[in-house]
């Protein structure tokens, strides 16, 4: 399975601090995506990094990808209470057009 596996399972930080979560996967991918899910809501796409990219930024988000280690990381800088959510990485393999989600990292930002 190419399912992404996030680490840690849960993370609690103070507002203003940075949050880092990691993702590992097993097979070759076309790209890797990160999604956010607020409590009781659907998933929202955050950022996509292609297999030939090593780092990508979007606002307060920074994603890295190391295809040799089959791993990715998501950094949220200067966290806010609104960042409290579950974050999922989803490797994407273009030959079957599937996203494979892990169990996610639950981030709690304390005021």
């Amino acid at each position: 399975s190419q399912q992404g596996e996030e680490d840690p399972q849960a993370l609690s930080i103070q507002e203003g601090e940075n949050a880092t979560m990691n993702c590992s996967y097993k097979t070759s991918i076309n790209n890797l995506q990160w999604y956010r899910q607020n409590s009781g809501r659907g998933l929202v796409h955050l950022i996509l990094i292609r297999s030939n990219e090593r780092e990508k930024h979007s606002g307060r988000l920074r994603v890295t990808l190391d295809t040799s280690k089959k791993s990715s990381s998501l950094l949220i800088t200067a966290s806010r209470a609104a960042d409290t959510a579950s974050y999922f990485c989803a490797p994407y393999r273009s030959n079957d057009y599937k996203l494979s989600f892990g169990a996610g990292t639950t981030v709690t930002v304390r005021a």
């Binding site: 659907g42 998933l43 796409h45 996509l48 989803a90 994407y92 057009y97 599937k98 989600f101 996610g104």
Partner: protein, 114 residues
């Protein structure tokens, strides 16, 4: 632009009863997905449609689950009969086409089977 619409948002049924979920994807999106998300887990793909054709239903439990996407727009996912283990959130997602990677998710239907 309206997002992916799902209804109902919540459903409580007794086991062995039938249940149906409805999804209206973003206008113009040809690819539609149904996922199931168990508590504390990520979404798992049940079925993928390209227009009205189910191109990947390998993960759909076909003994009790069925789906359709008439005219390649709205879609319905049905469970008959429901079992206790079917309690989960059922998510619908859509994207422009199979070569477009970002998926747009609806709010989901939370199913509780008692």
């Amino acid at each position: 632009e309206a997002g992916v619409v799902q209804s109902p948002r919540y459903k409580i049924i007794e086991k062995k009863q039938p249940v149906a979920f409805w999804c209206n994807p973003i206008s113009g999106h040809n690819t539609l997905y149904w996922y199931r998300q168990n508590l504390g887990q990520g979404p798992e793909l049940l079925i993928r449609y390209e227009n009205e054709e189910a191109v990947d239903d390998s993960q759909l439990p076909k003994d009790r689950f069925s789906a359709e996407r008439l005219k390649g727009v709205d879609s319905t996912l049905k469970i008959q009969p429901a079992e206790l283990g079917d309690s989960a959130v059922y998510l619908c997602a859509s994207t422009l086409g199979r070569g477009v990677y970002e998926q747009y998710f609806g709010p989901g239907t939370r199913l509780t089977v008692t």
